[in-house]
C-alpha cells in the first residue's frame, strides 16, 4: 500500500500526498517515504507565522494566499493548533480563515500539536519535504498560539514572522528574551486599531537596540488587506537560510534521530532485517554518520536476544 502511495505521489496524485502527510505526521514509514522523494528542481521557501492566539496568523496567511495566487504560485500551509493534554482531542480551526476556493495549487493541512514541541506539530520536517517534493513553491507553517519561549519553529523555516497586535501588553513584554529574538520580520497586525502606532514605535525602539540585526517591522490589517503587499515584499527580501533543503542534511539527521529513538524504545532485538536496513542506510549516508554507526553497534549487540522491533511505537 505504501508502494502504491509513493507511486501515486510521483505522478502528482494529491490524495497520495495527503495520505503520505498523515503517515509522516504519525512518524510512520519515514525512512521509506523520505528515501523515495525526489529533490524538487527548486527548493521551496518555508515561511513561519508565529505569535499569540488571536493575533491574526491564519487570517494573514489567508490574505497572502490570495496575493500569491495572483502570481500563480503554488502554496501549501501546515497549520498547527493545540492538542488537548487531557483528552488528546483537538479543534483545528485555522483553515476556516483561509480562502475556500478550490484550487489545485493551494493545499492546506491542519495539524494537532502535542504539548512540548515548541508550538508546532511533531514531524514537520518530513511533511515540509513532502510538500516541497510535490512542487509547492511557498510553504507556510502556522504555529499554535505561541508563548514567549516557543522558538522551535525558527530552525524549520527560511523566514520567521512574529505577529503582534495592539493592546497586548506594555513595552517590557518586547524586552523579554524568546520569540522576538528569532523574528526575521515583526508584523503588527490589526494595524487599524487605535493603539497600533504606539506598539509599532515601542517595538521599533526595542528592536533598534539589538546590534547588527535589522528586523523589518511591517504594519498590516488582515481585515482590510492593508499592508499585505508590504508584508510579502519584506518576506521576499529575506535572504534564504540554509535549511539544508538542498542537500537534505538536516533532514537526514532528523530521521536518524527518530530511528535512534525507536531503537532506544524498542531495543531492536533479534532483527537481522533491521540491521540490514541500517547498513543500507549507512551506505546511503556515505558511511560517515555517527548516529548510524551507533545504531549498528546497538543492534549487533542485541541481535541474539529475543523479541522484535515494535514499529507502532
Amino acid at each position: 500500500m505504501l508502494e502504491s502511495l509513493l507511486e501515486g505521489f510521483q505522478h502528482g496524485d494529491r490524495l497520495a500526498l495527503s495520505r503520505l502527510l498523515t503517515y509522516a505526521s504519525q512518524g510512520k514509514a519515514l525512512p521509506e517515504i523520505l528515501s523515495h522523494l525526489k529533490s524538487p528542481p527548486k527548493s521551496s521557501q518555508v515561511i513561519a507565522f508565529t505569535g499569540s492566539a488571536g493575533v491574526g496568523k491564519s487570517s494573514l496567511i489567508g490574505k497572502l494566499i490570495e496575493l500569491l495566487r495572483r502570481d500563480n504560485r503554488r502554496v501549501a500551509v501546515l497549520a498547527c493548533d493545540p492538542q488537548s493534554p487531557l483528552s488528546g482531542g483537538a479543534l483545528l480551526g485555522d483553515r476556516f480563515r483561509m480562502p475556500t476556493q478550490v484550487e489545485d495549487d493551494v493545499f492546506i493541512r491542519s495539524l494537532a500539536a502535542t504539548p512540548g514541541h515548541g508550538a508546532v506539530a511533531e514531524h514537520l520536517p518530513p511533511m515540509i519535504r513532502l510538500l516541497e517534493s510535490f512542487g509547492f513553491d511557498t510553504i507556510f507553517i502556522e504555529t499554535v498560539g505561541a508563548g514567549q519561549s516557543d522558538t522551535a519553529v525558527a530552525s524549520l523555516a527560511d523566514v520567521v514572522a512574529v505577529i503582534l497586535q495592539p493592546e497586548a501588553g506594555d513595552d517590557l513584554q518586547w524586552e523579554k528574551a524568546g520569540l522576538l529574538e528569532v523574528a526575521d520580520i515583526v508584523v503588527i497586525n490589526k494595524g487599524d486599531l487605535p493603539k497600533a502606532d504606539h506598539v509599532e514605535s515601542q517595538v521599533r525602539t526595542i528592536l533598534g537596540l539589538s546590534e547588527g540585526r535589522h528586523v523589518p517591522i511591517v504594519r498590516t490589517s488582515a481585515k482590510s488587506g492593508e499592508g499585505i503587499d508590504g508584508l510579502w515584499a519584506a518576506i521576499q527580501a529575506m535572504p534564504r537560510k540554509n535549511r539544508g533543503g538542498g542537500d537534505g542534511r538536516e533532514l537526514l539527521l532528523y530521521t536518524q534521530e527518530l530511528l535512534a529513538e525507536w531503537f532506544m524504545k524498542a531495543q531492536a532485538k533479534n532483527r537481522p532485517d533491521v540491521l540490514q536496513l541500517i547498513k543500507n542506510w549507512q551506505e546511503f549516508t556515505n558511511q560517515r554518520d555517527v548516529i548510524v554507526r551507533k545504531l549498528i553497534q546497538l543492534v549487533e549487540k542485541d541481535i541474539s536476544a529475543a523479541g522484535g522491533l515494535d514499529r507502532s511505537d
Partner: protein
C-alpha cells in the same frame, strides 16, 4: 509516537446559504473532548470546497450541518463528489433540521446517520467510536 491509535480526523462543515453555526460548534467541542481531531471548515462552503477539505485533511469522517432545507440537494451532491474524488471510504453524518420523512432517503444514498436537534453528544461520540475510521483502500 504514542502507544494509542491515532485520533479520528473529522471534518465539520456547513454547506450552502445557512448561517447558523451554534450547533456544529457544540458538536465540534464535544468531539474534541472525546479525543478526536476536528477540522472546522466553517460556514457557507460549497460542496466542492468541502470535498477538497476532506481530501487534503485526510479525514475519515465528514459531518455536515444543514438547517436550510437544502439537504436533499446538497448532501447527494457531496456524496457524489466524494465518490468521484476517490473518497468513498469517508463516512458522512448529517445534523441539523432534517424532516423525519427525508431521513430514509439520506441513509439510502450513503449517509451513515442523521442526528437531529437534542441528540446527546455522547450518542454521536459513541457512534463514531463504534464505526471508527474506515481502512483506507
Amino acid at each position: 509516537m504514542s502507544q494509542t491509535a491515532p485520533a479520528l480526523r473529522v471534518v465539520l462543515a456547513k454547506v450552502g446559504l445557512d448561517g447558523h453555526d451554534r450547533g456544529i460548534k457544540v458538536v465540534a467541542r464535544g468531539l474534541r473532548d472525546a479525543g478526536m481531531h476536528v477540522i472546522y471548515a466553517g460556514l457557507w462552503q460549497t460542496p466542492e470546497a468541502v470535498v477538497r477539505t476532506v481530501a487534503d485533511e485526510d479525514a475519515q469522517w465528514l459531518g455536515l450541518s444543514l438547517l436550510s432545507g437544502a439537504h436533499l440537494t446538497l448532501v447527494p451532491r457531496i456524496l457524489d463528489l466524494l465518490r468521484k474524488a476517490g473518497l468513498e471510504n469517508v463516512q458522512v453524518m448529517v445534523g441539523g433540521i432534517i424532516p423525519e420523512p427525508d431521513i430514509p432517503r439520506l441513509l439510502e444514498i450513503g449517509v451513515a446517520r442523521v442526528f437531529g436537534p437534542g441528540t446527546p453528544l455522547s450518542e454521536i461520540v459513541e457512534f463514531l467510536r463504534e464505526r471508527g475510521g474506515a481502512v483506507h483502500a
